[in-house]
Amino acid sequence: SAVISQKPSRDICQRGTSLTIQCQVDSQVTMMFWYRQQPGQSLTLIATANQGSEATYESGFVIDKFPISRPNLTFSTLTVSNMSPEDSSIYLCSVEWLAGETQYFGPGTRLLVL
């Protein structure tokens, strides 16, 4: 079965700094997504990462705060910019091999902002 990896697995950052999270899949996928899971909460979709074009952001999330890249069909990055303690969350990438069907998740990145 395919492997979805995320780097880093966890990090502790100072407020005002930025962190880039990588999501790598070992086979080409159609769709890639980024989610945020705040402590004790469910998952909230941040954006759909579009290959070769700007990401599609959900309401409440903006490109300046969460820039996303997807240079090819196996890789995407999410940057959390100008971090504050409220950004402390788990960030998860997910993928679909067939568009509109099952999403599979990476292992997540646990971020703590001090």
Partner: protein
């Protein structure tokens, strides 16, 4: 807008027994997918089971089965012969095209 409701924030079950987790959803769509995901303390979201709305037959995966009631918009998960490794958060999810919504989750504890 699609919504997903899990009314049981926490549940517990004795090892080897059976437990049922509830999920209801609201949609005007006719074609969609429903999922149960498991999130153990390691935080990785693991697909447990999937149901296509057009299929009347309930999905099963080993010890996991669902009771899908389309008219009632209900999608419960039954775990048989519960094991200690089943201890996790369980999220019900609804998906139509690229719009995926998650419930608030049910924390399941399996007791020895």
């Amino acid at each position: 807008a699609q919504t997903v409701t899990q009314s049981q924030p926490e549940m517990s079950v004795q090892e080897a027994e059976t437990v049922t987790l509830s999920c209801t959803y609201d949609t005007s769509e006719n074609n969609y997918y429903l999922f149960w995901y498991k999130q153990p303390p390691s935080r990785q979201m693991i697909l447990v089971i999937r149901q296509e709305a057009y299929k009347q037959q309930n999905a099963t995966e080993n010890r996991f089965s669902v009771n899908f009631q389309k008219a009632a918009k209900s999608f419960s998960l039954k775990i048989s012969d519960s094991q200690l490794g089943d201890t996790a958060m369980y999220f019900c999810a609804f998906k139509v095209v690229n719009d995926m919504r998650f419930g608030a989750g049910t924390r399941l504890t399996v007791k020895p």
